[in-house]
């Protein structure tokens, strides 16, 4: 009997699911070596059926998405119990990713932003409710938790596959490892390992030329009159997170003139990606007087959102104080 495979989509955009499908014919290898036990995006299996499975009966579960709702938490715990190997798959599961940025506000402010903004027509100021009576009965929605948490903040995680989404060639490589293990041709990597990524930072793969850095102005890309196609983006005054971001993507964004936004997470051994970026960027600002420093920093209107664009939920502080205070 083929070992069982599962994939689950929690607080995430769905990009990870697409990325898996994007491995083309490799998906046939997956099918050849695994029995898909549970994969809501691909086939219909009810939660009840999962609950009925024996513990540790699934060999590997790729879990994408962070823990935003009670449902996410429930499924994380359920799949942990049912799986031998639980893989935090993609940036959301690993470090919260873009949904994790909501941790800079409270739930109330999230609802305000979504349902009461100038572009939303909502004269009755309706809000989603966790339960609602309709003629047919009570409709429920899973409650939103105070903050987004990462998978490893809720359950134990065996492996990490970073990226938003993970690059398809890296997914394929991870699948190859799994298949080799299933066939008895390879050992499992050590628990806790990061799979499908490099072990230096994006600059290592970036073809742009680079020099000593002195930043006297930080700009957004649309503010630059000309973008040099050869030179380091940071040296051109663009806030590029490449130096502090784990390699593995083949420097996709800088290759095409877009600064790295940090989706592969912190470099190996780094505790807090945002802190590293803060330290690095501040160090090379070309100013000594507080006012002059501030003028340069004014080019970064949203520092927390920039430095922690992907890693906020997994950072040392995790969230805004007010949001955290709503935890019990």
């Amino acid at each position: 009997m083929k070992p069982k495979f599962a994939m689950y989509w929690a607080a995430a955009c769905g990009g990870c699911e697409i990325a898996v499908l994007n491995i083309d014919e490799k998906v046939l290898d997956l099918d050849a070596n695994f029995e898909v036990a549970f994969w809501p995006a691909a086939m219909d299996v009810k939660y009840k059926e999962v609950e009925a499975m024996e513990d540790e009966s699934i060999l590997v579960t790729l879990f994408n998405g962070g823990i935003r709702t009670d449902e996410n938490e429930h499924m994380a715990k359920l799949l942990r119990r049912k799986s031998k190997l639980l893989v935090a798959f993609g940036s959301c599961a690993n470090e919260g990713c873009i949904p994790g940025l909501a941790n800079l506000g409270t739930r109330e402010s999230i609802f305000d932003c979504a349902f009461d903004n100038p572009s939303t027509e909502n004269p009755a100021h309706l809000r989603p409710q966790i339960a609602c009576q309709v003629p047919e009965g009570v409709l429920t929605l899973p409650p939103l938790q105070a903050v987004v948490r990462t998978l490893d903040q809720v359950v134990e995680v065996d492996y990490h596959v970073p990226g938003c989404p993970p690059e398809s060639h890296q997914i394929a490589a991870v699948l190859d490892v799994l298949i080799a293990v299933v066939k008895g041709e390879a050992e499992l990597p050590p628990k806790g390992a990061v799979l499908g990524a490099g072990d230096t930072s994006v600059c290592d793969e970036c073809p742009r030329s680079r020099d000593v850095k002195h930043i006297d102005k930080l700009s957004r890309i649309q503010e630059l009159p000309v973008l040099d196609t050869e030179v380091c983006l940071l040296e051109q005054g663009l806030m590029c997170s490449g130096p502090a971001t784990r390699s593995g993507c083949n420097s996709r964004c800088p290759n095409v003139g877009a600064p790295c936004i940090g989706c592969y997470g912190a470099a190996p051994g780094v505790l807090d990606q945002g802190a590293r970026l803060m330290a690095a960027i501040a160090s090379v600002i070309d100013a000594k007087e507080p006012e002059a420093i501030d003028r340069v920093l004014d080019g970064l209107p949203d520092p927390a959102g920039t430095f922690y664009r992907f890693s906020l939920a997994h950072s040392l502080l995790r969230a805004n104080r007010a949001a955290l205070a709503e935890q019990e």
Partner: protein, 161 residues
């Protein structure tokens, strides 16, 4: 001790100036409140924002960063890097809801024991006023329904639907 809130502050000092200023405050028997616990670094330029975040997330109510005066750094100009990091950190921390008074940058030369003690006293009082930070990052999170009590499940009316 009275019941007043006693903040705990982690102080990062440089080996050449502020740590010696703290030594001098001791030698001169200058008194200041016992709320600051010092860590010695070689230079304020060694100050990694990670240390500050770590201290805040581990239960410190504030962080004091003390280096040599601008232009007086024993490593020539590394304290300017501390200054830049501090300015940037303050902007970032504001977005986390952390008051600027909780992360203070000050300069103290090796001869300024009294000034360093004053800075500490002032900071302790400021943080005392702000109250505990008690960073709750590590608490297990528990869902709270937003905007409603479970008993009052609303009926979705035909019109709105």
């Amino acid at each position: 001790m009275t019941d007043q809130f006693e903040p705990v502050i982690i102080g990062f000092t440089c080996n050449w100036c502020s740590y010696r200023a703290a030594d001098l405050a001791g030698t001169a028997r200058i008194k200041y409140p016992p709320n600051v616990r010092l860590i010695r670094l070689m230079c304020s330029g060694r100050l990694d924002p990670t240390f500050v975040l770590k201290a805040l997330s581990e239960g410190a109510d504030g962080v004091l960063i003390a280096g040599c005066h601008p232009g007086e750094c024993h490593y020539l100009e590394q304290n300017y890097k501390a200054l830049r990091r501090h300015r940037l950190m303050q902007r970032t921390l504001a977005q986390f809801g952390i008051e600027p008074e909780r992360v203070r940058l000050t300069w103290a030369s090796a001869a300024e024991g009294a000034k360093f003690a004053e800075d500490i006293t002032e900071m302790v009082e400021q943080v005392r006023k702000l109250g505990p930070l008690n960073w709750p990052a590590n608490l297990p999170t528990k869902p709270v329904p937003v905007g409603m009590v479970a008993a009052e499940i609303p009926v979705l009316s035909e019109e709105v639907a």
